[in-house]
């Protein structure tokens, strides 16, 4: 499956935007960036990947993330640098920073405000995760793509947008997993508009950071640890952090480093490791994309844990793809979303998330079977290339086809 996807990258892109720009925005009201906010990472990387394919692209978000004015060119340049720093995206796309006075508290803008007046007039195609924005586009016959990631605010999409799903302006409905696609079909989304796409991974993860990785190894492994196991991502219960704590208690010569998580979750797990006396686990908080990639390259093994339960069925293994580009052997939970990676003959192992101590056993096995290699395991890196944001956009836009000039209002 991975080989097939990699070969597809060579195909020419049957997509054209005859007028306007490709507009990307996750949800109305969102800032343009915020640490650890998955849908904003999605938006920035989607915009970057689209621009990398040569399509004029506009990323839309609110400016409240910046403690300085962004109205002038210098401010916008600063905002771009911050996007690059935080998410590791390359430039090439323009940004629109919206602020509506009528926006509710905690939000910067609304779907029916400046977005309509400033952004839609120059939009050729709008790519969003917000049903409200999809609806605004549909009403004005502006071509749109909607992505369903099973978030709370997306509930009821099909019923809200239902009458417009059959119209030509609806170019694609993206489901993040097969179970999500099944649900959308059941809710009335036409099968010919539906496409299943995993999340993507930034090509920036490919960049080797050997010197920085060695420094991190030196810092984390001294004086008495033999191996470094790393996890990057959220610290919600569903992520299987409990498995990592159990593994850390069973493998005292392994240093476990967890990057990511909200302040609240970090505090909760910090309390847990103190209560249990686990000294070989660090919670280093959210890291910029570059630092997170460095950590993955520094590790002997990277962990894609998941708690068993219904959420495991609808998860997208975004981090696992990033892990692949790091070249570091992985240990992943046996869930449906990772099945295609687990069967691909890569440097990695799986564990049963329902067996409490299976993770520790898998980690110990991985150390022996896949010793650390400078430069990483080539087969993992090669496999990861199929999941870049550019490849994802290529598949999506191939599905969409040409976007012609259309009378809008």
């Amino acid at each position: 499956m991975i080989a097939v996807q990699a070969a597809a990258t060579q195909a020419p892109l049957p997509f054209a935007l005859s007028a306007g720009r490709y507009v990307v925005t996750a949800r109305a009201g969102d800032r343009i960036l915020q640490p650890a906010r998955a849908r904003l990472i999605w938006a920035a990387n989607t915009a970057s990947a689209t621009a990398a394919l040569g399509i004029p692209t506009l990323l839309v978000g609110g400016p409240s993330a910046f403690p300085y004015g962004v109205e002038n060119p210098a401010g916008k340049a600063a905002a771009r640098r911050e996007l690059e720093r935080l998410y590791g995206v390359e430039g090439g796309f323009d940004i629109a920073l919206l602020q509506d006075p009528k926006a509710p508290r905690g939000q910067d803008w609304i779907a029916g405000g400046q977005f309509i007046r400033q952004v839609l007039p120059e939009a050729g195609l709008v790519h969003t995760r917000d049903p409200a924005i999809a609806l605004e586009c549909a009403r004005r016959k502006i071509d749109w793509i909607y992505e369903e990631h099973d978030e709370d605010y997306q509930v009821g999409f099909a019923s809200q947008v239902g009458p417009f799903l059959q119209q030509p302006s609806c170019r694609a409905i993206v489901a993040i997993t097969e179970p999500v696609a099944r649900r959308l079909r059941a809710e009335g989304v036409p099968a010919n508009r539906l496409l299943i796409l995993d999340s993507g991974v930034s090509r920036a993860a490919l960049h080797r950071r050997e010197e920085a990785a060695e420094r991190w190894r030196a810092a984390f492994l001294r004086p008495c640890y033999r191996h470094l196991a790393a996890y990057a991502g959220g610290l919600h219960d569903e992520r299987g952090i409990e498995h990592i704590l159990r593994a850390a208690a069973l493998l005292p010569h392994v240093m476990f480093v967890l990057a990511g998580g909200s302040i609240t979750d970090q505090a909760r797990w910090s309390h847990a490791i103190e209560e249990r006396g686990i000294g070989n686990l660090k919670l280093i908080g959210y890291q910029d994309h570059d630092a997170a990639c460095t950590l993955q390259q520094a590790a002997d093994v990277v962990l894609a844990t998941r708690a068993p339960g219904p959420r495991a069925a609808i998860t997208s293994p975004l981090k696992l793809y990033e892990y692949l580009l790091s070249g570091t052997p992985f240990v992943t939970a046996e869930i449906s979303a990772t099945a295609h990676v687990r069967s691909a003959g890569l440097a990695g192992l799986a564990y049963d998330p329902a067996a409490p101590d299976a993770l520790a056993a898998a980690i110990a096995t991985a150390f022996g079977r896949f010793p650390r290699r400078p430069g990483g395991y080539a087969q993992n890196i090669e496999a990861g290339l199929a999941f870049t944001w550019e490849e994802r956009q290529r598949r999506l836009l191939s599905f969409v086809g040409p976007v012609l000039v259309r009378e809008t209002f």
Binding site: Y68, W216, A249, G279, L281, I284, Q287
Partner: protein, 622 residues
């Protein structure tokens, strides 16, 4: 609220982190406009030399750090302005070790002298580009013992000395008003028979486009002059252009360095420079270049340039010997590492010195408490490079269950040194002496581990295994060996200058090169010795110096951490300093400021109620 009030309020919110919450050893903070220019180079030199994990944070503004500040043990600020503002906004900084690079004083923009000094008192160490700025900070009220001068450098592999004769007169640097561009224009215009070269950054190499010479309003006039070549390029190409420069000119009004002066000296280009930054410390007027007054006239500068062009023989490259970026980085990294003195005693108090050593297994320290939560709790114990721990003592407070015992082992770099046990609550003291030298790490980065031996714990669901750290003391081999005490048994004044000698090298801090004869020569601008001391009412120190490689007077400072005695400019070979140390003072710090100077002999005489005793710390001259 004023800035100072905001700093105080911010400090009140600070709470320490546990080590398991720390991501990096050090985070470097600078303004984004420093990307590609000297302040970034300074930070990178330190980062590379440190061997630590590090992260760079570029702020878009000076008044606030606009990006996330990763959690780190240390923060290094490339400018005191952003440091001062950050102290008022980031409580986490107040619980970390703080270091500041003091570029040059400019109290007219944003941060006043009072605010800067107040903020700098929060820094563990402040590094200045030249000794004059160090003295200025001392005069303004910054604790002089925390200020260290480290000269910037250049890469000796790239900037190679060449013969002078047919080269140009060079101005080197970015565009700033303080570089006196109108004077540069005037000089070029006034010397039509002389070929000039202006070497500056190109747009691709600097984030701050304000540094480009195209911003100079009179650039068209300068560009139109037939006798100047203007080269704007990346720093990688600077060496090839320095190879074409015979005379380097700086008419700047304010500098920390200037760094191009070091590059010029290394390239054997004769400097003609205003008395700014470290110019007076590296250039001896009429010997290895010319010094001009700040605000020099075109005529005065032109005359000095003509004299300099006529001198094609004087070797000036030796004045830059040792001033490499690598040496610069190593020097600052060593100071940041904070090696413990040969004898140390640390306590759990907030200022007791233990907190910055905590590594895995300890809770975030709260007021007066350092609790271990894991069965293995670590301390990083930085010793001077090459030093070996000879003895160590740790005091814990333990509280085993009634009828139970608690046993704790003491390990040094993974090797067990001692173990102890206690029944019932109370203090448990662990001690190890005669520790084999081979157990200490050559780089001084040692780990002391306290391991709970009984009851074992740490499995999921098990209760936390706790003990409390109260005190850590130790001795390392760089202390004076017991067989040759620093302060012998009561001696008479007649004997005072002839005591058993101790190698000065054994007492040195960073900044020295050991000479073949056994003396110590300054590697850069300054260095210091730690002089161990028992109780004394007053101390007299006689220092014998060698100015062989120096081009300017040196200064000596003697401090006990509270008070300081300064020598004033020293040109001779012997100087005496006296100080009355505070009660309880265990060591004095003797600092020598002055490039090229060497230390030959130090004699220490203390005055106690019953008489005087003395010791000599001897270099290579018996």
């Amino acid at each position: 609220m004023s800035l100072l009030q905001r700093i105080v309020a911010c400090k009140a919110q600070a709470s320490a982190l546990a080590d398991h919450q720390v991501a990096f050893d050090v985070v470097f903070v600078m303004h984004v406009s420093s990307r590609g220019w000297i302040l970034e180079k300074i930070c990178r030199a330190i980062a590379m030399a440190s061997g630590w994990s590090y992260r760079f944070v570029d702020s878009e503004r000076n008044e606030v750090i606009t990006t996330r500040l990763p959690r780190a043990r240390c923060y290094f600020f490339a400018h005191y302005g952003i440091f001062t503002q950050a102290l008022a906004r980031h409580p986490e900084l107040h619980a970390a070790r703080l270091f500041v690079w003091f570029t040059h004083p400019d109290f007219s923009r944003g941060i006043s002298a009072e605010e800067a000094v107040f903020a700098l008192r929060h820094a563990e160490r402040i590094f200045t580009a030249n000794a004059a700025h160090a003295r200025l900070l001392g005069a303004l009220g910054v604790d002089r013992a925390r200020v260290e001068t480290v000269y910037g450098g250049a890469d000796p592999a790239l900037f190679r000395p060449k013969r002078r004769g047919a080269g140009k007169v060079g101005f080197v640097g970015a565009y700033y008003a303080r570089k006196a561009p109108d004077t540069i224009l005037g000089i070029v215009r006034a010397m039509p028979d002389v070929p000039f070269l202006l070497l500056g950054p190109d747009a691709a190499s600097v984030e701050n486009k304000g540094l480009l010479w195209s911003n100079y309003p009179r650039m068209p006039e300068l560009r139109a002059l037939p006798n100047i070549e203007i080269v704007e390029t990346g720093y990688d190409h600077y060496p090839e252009h320095f190879a074409r420069i015979d005379v380097y000119v700086s008419v700047a009004l304010l500098e920390g360095g200037p760094i191009p002066l070091v590059e010029a000296l290394m390239s054997n280009a004769l400097p003609v420079v205003t008395r700014t930054g470290f110019a007076e410390e590296l250039v001896h007027d009429g010997v290895n270049g010319a010094l001009l007054p700040v605000g020099t006239s075109v005529e005065e500068a032109a005359a000095a340039i003509r004299r300099a062009r006529a001198d094609v023989e004087t070797d000036v490259a030796s004045a830059a010997a040792g001033l490499s970026w690598q040496a610069f980085g190593l020097r600052i990294a060593e100071a940041m590492r904070g090696a413990l003195p040969p004898q140390f005693a640390l306590t759990d108090r907030p200022d007791g010195g233990l907190r910055s050593l905590l590594r895995q297994g300890w809770r975030a320290p709260s007021a007066g408490r350092i609790d271990a939560f894991a069965p293995r709790a670590m301390l990083a114990v930085p010793l001077a490079a090459g030093a070996q721990l000879t003895s160590v003592a740790v005091t814990l407070e333990v509280a085993p269950e009634p009828g139970e015992r608690i046993a704790v082992g003491l390990l040094w770099n993974g090797t067990s040194l001692a173990a102890g046990q206690r029944f019932g609550p109370g203090r448990l003291r662990l001690h190890a002496g005669d520790i084999p030298a081979a157990l200490s790490r050559a780089d001084g980065e040692n780990i002391l581990e306290l391991r709970l031996l009984d009851p074992a714990g740490g499995m999921p669901g098990a209760p936390p295994c706790r003990f409390r750290l109260l005190h850590l003391a130790g001795e390392a081999s760089t202390a004076i060996p017991r067989s040759t005490p620093v302060v012998p048994a009561p001696a008479t004044p007649a004997q005072a200058m002839d005591p058993p000698a101790t190698p000065a090298a054994a007492l040195r801090g960073p900044g020295w090169i050991e000479e073949a004869c056994g003396g110590l020569r300054l590697e850069g601008a300054c260095g210091y010795l730690i002089l161990p001391l028992d109780a004394a009412e007053a101390v007299q120190v006689r220092v014998e110096l060698d100015p062989a490689g120096a081009s300017a007077p040196c200064h000596l400072y003697l401090t006990d951490g509270e008070t300081e005695t300064a020598s004033g400019p020293v040109s001779g070979k012997t100087v005496e300093l006296g100080i009355a140390p505070a009660p309880g003072t265990r060591a004095l710090r003797l600092e020598l400021d002055g490039a090229g100077w060497a230390l030959r002999h130090v004699a220490l005489q203390r005055h106690v109620a019953t008489g005087s005793t003395a010791a000599a710390l001897q270099g290579g001259v018996p």
